[in-house]
Amino acid sequence: MFDYILLFVVALSAVLAVIQENLYKSIIILGFESFSLAAIFHFLLATDVAATQAILGAALIPGLFIVALYKTTQGRDE
């Protein structure tokens, strides 16, 4: 049951990350989506892919996004 809930969470957070106006919130929701996707990979019997996706998708990619966003808008809303 929990795996189906995770599928729903991934779909919902992908839509929310796109329609969100504030870019910081959008990046955080994107990291949440990537980590839920790593849990789905674990339920699909791909444990090595789940570990890589958890590290890259939940830590590296939001970090790169936040650095790029800070270097463009300097923390201002645009």
Partner: protein
């Protein structure tokens, strides 16, 4: 096909459609990069869902295989056959493992290009960037 496999494919379809909509329709250039990341996630989920076998053994966790494999006899061939009949299909896992890392590196290149565009045109909106390009010509 298993019901969970069908659900994974439907979720991947939602991810790809959402990412395509963000890439085509959104005006902010960082939202387009987020959409490209979502498309890559959807494709990875499709590939992982192909290799799923319900109740199968994980190919990387080989306790079952090593416990029954006896060296210096031919019995470990049978053990390997049993293991191969019960394990999930592990070729897409290796492909997706490469695809995740390549996706992260191409994403960093896309972000660096958007930072360069912002420093040249002082905006993140794609429409204003096109207007600035037309003024230069």
């Amino acid at each position: 096909m298993e019901p969970f496999q069908v659900g994974a494919f439907l979720t991947a379809g939602i991810l790809v459609i959402t990412g395509l909509w963000a890439v085509i329709m959104m005006d902010n250039i960082l939202k387009k990069v987020i959409g490209a990341n979502l498309i890559g996630d959807g494709v990875n989920l499709v590939l992982i869902g192909i290799g799923y076998r319900p109740g199968g053994l994980v190919p990387e966790v080989t306790h079952q295989f090593h416990a029954t494999a006896v060296p210096s006899s031919f019995s470990h061939f049978l053990a390997f056959n049993e293991f191969a009949n019960q394990a999930s299909y592990s070729l897409p896992f290796a492909l997706v493992l490469t695809n995740i890392v390549i996706g992260a590196s191409t994403l960093s290149v896309m972000l660096a290009l958007s930072v360069v565009l912002y420093h040249k045109y002082h905006t993140l909106s794609v429409q204003k960037i096109f207007e600035g390009m037309e003024e230069e010509d």
